[in-house]
Symmetry: C2
Subunit: 357 residues, 2 copies
DNA sequence: TTGTAAGCGTTATCAC
DNA sequence: GTGATAACGCTTACAA
């Protein structure tokens, strides 16, 4: 077992100084052809690689991005990570992942753990508990320490930073509009409770689409699912709640659900009640994951382009990181660049499959 | 914007030496009650946190684990990450994620990128291309550098390290046995090409179960899916290939598929051909993901317990990391602990749902 | 009780 | 053309 070789060891071995080795390896032409050759050959032989940690300490930057998300076993979030990783890798960064598990405390702990020098910046999506508490001090504290943040999907106005969001509102408008165009008269909405902003926006989009078509929204046709019902163990509860909802509203001929699970469950329930899809009831979901693609019938959805979100977020963060770098070398009393934060809106796209006609 | 405060700054501010500050903060009783108080108060006020990078350099360990997997948008892998993260976090480690994207080259690049001091050890699952090439030098090189590796799921005998695997063979035996017990006479196998070891093992399990029941395996009933068909764009090809297979073998009354997708697609095709599930054809898959749970009818599967795999892998790695630590402080000419690598086998579990009766 | 100095692995500045 | 020195932030043996 040969530990990684260091400059010091090469220097000793070749009987030169450490700085000579360093320069030779970086191809500095201060060093003679001869020694450079010798040193490079030796380094290659022993497979020398500079130690990242030492470089990080010296350069005061780690070239790694911290990702902080509520949950990783989730198609949307893993797609975003894939996008981030792709860009990060291409631009010479690593990604370190922390999971908040939807918990406020875990979010803070993770954040502090990484903010102590481990990463150069964050890309994150806020946990539900944090959204509920509306306590965002940890984000602002981090930003104040000079660590930039890019938020995606679940973002919040109270924190000034770059953001990448999906156009939830218009996505919902488009989806409902499509159902209307396809002849639905009684469109139900299956959504979440309000504090998760994306659920709220999609609900607003639903209302907007109805209004645009001069249809009065019927509160009876809106089902808000309690958060606890998302958990796997409560699958039956979800089903029975939706079933109850369908029975109360036999006129339903269209369903817009704010996520895949609700949509697929709605289809399941509808068929159980003897309604055929898409002939009796047309269904469209939000988030284009595995479920939508492989359900029977396959589900029409509003696609969020998670990977693109990740890519955009990564580019924004790295751009800012590298801007800071050049800026602070130019002059220290840097211009107030705080004001111009960017908010990128990723357009949604409707993917038509078998659940609509 | 106040950058994070350092020991040096505290020292200057309070007019003491850096080492005094360091000691005071670590609660050393070398330092007087008085100064300790003063320093701790000041540190607290300015929210001092030691810089991770500096600690890593000093201690020659980073307290972070490198995860290297082929793909993250994948229920099984993300479940494993969740398990790793959970244990890592609890034991004071961070996780940094690299994706090989099933590519040999990317696997190597990522590995080298992280092995240069960024991580203390790896938890990984081998990319398909690497398995195909059977070139494992980078794993061995890493281990030789003193960086321990724990492999999971897609493992290989050629590399000596700790491993965590699913009992693919027995899982498959159990699944097929169940189909037999439920009265199936003509059980089809839908599997992958052979070089991915898990596919091979599950195929062997299928054969074993038949043999145990004195049934001769019919090669006609085995469908090997080309790898490229897994890609999303080729979904129709997958479907038509399976459809063709069903038409050739109308006697099929049971299907064992080595993954969720094949199983769900088989159900879809069977129903399209007018067969009812589970009455005419019973289906069981492998890997308990979202698809199985939410398909209609819901799919019986062999569950792999991804999270448990991740937890075991993380514990194995951290145990070894901390063993190395104490070992090398005890005496340098350490005992040859290379030989005793552990292979943990996680038992599978059959989850019965609607696709079997 | 406090401070000095060395070291973790690098690179940059300056001197020889 | 080469080397000594300092610095990144921290800990710790050793001096004072």
């Amino acid at each position: 077992m040969k530990r990684k070789i260091t400059l010091k060891q090469i220097a000793k071995e070749l009987d030169v100084s450490v700085s000579t080795v360093s320069k030779a390896l970086s191809g500095s032409k201060e060093i003679s052809e001869d020694t450079t050759q010798k040193i490079q050959a030796f380094a290659k032989l022993y497979n020398y690689r500079p130690n990242n940690i030492a470089l990080s300490l010296k350069n005061r930057k780690t070239k790694t991005i911290g990702i902080l998300i509520p949950e990783i076993v989730h198609h949307f979030f893993s797609t975003v990570i894939r996008g981030i990783e792709r860009i990060a890798n291409r631009r010479g960064y690593n990604v370190i992942v922390g999971l908040s598990n939807e918990s406020f405390t875990k979010e803070i702990i993770n954040m502090e753990m990484l903010a102590n020098g481990s990463i150069d910046g964050f890309i994150l999506s806020i946990s539900k508990e944090t959204l509920l508490k509306q306590d965002y001090h940890h984000f602002n504290a981090t930003i104040n320490q000079g660590i930039p943040i890019v938020m995606f999907d679940r973002v919040v106005n109270e924190v000034e930073c770059d953001k990448v969001i999906v156009d939830d509102f218009n996505g919902a408008v488009k989806a409902v509009k499509m159902l209307l165009d396809k002849g639905c008269k009684h469109i139900a909405l299956i959504t979440t409770v309000d504090y998760v902003s994306v659920g709220r926006l999609r609900t607003q989009g639903y209302l907007e689409a109805l209004q645009l078509n001069k249809i009065e929204a019927d509160p009876q046709l809106i089902l808000k699912i309690e958060d606890s019902l998302n958990v796997d163990n409560h699958l039956e509860d979800l089903e029975s709640e939706i079933e109850h909802f369908f029975k109360l509203n036999p006129a339903i001929d269209g369903v817009f659900a704010v996520n895949e699970l609700y949509a697929v469950t709605a289809m399941k329930v509808a068929r159980k009640l003897g309604r055929s899809i898409p002939d009796d009831v047309q269904v469209i979901g939000f988030t284009d994951g595995v479920l939508s693609k492989h359900a029977t019938p396959s589900l029409s959805t509003v696609s969020q382009h998670g990977q693109k979100i990740g890519e955009q977020a990564a580019n924004l963060l790295i751009d800012r990181l590298e801007a800071i770098e050049t800026e602070s070398t130019q002059y220290l009393g840097s211009a107030d660049s705080k004001s111009d934060f960017i908010k990128v809106v990723i357009e949604t796209e409707i993917i038509e499959r078998e659940s609509t006609k």
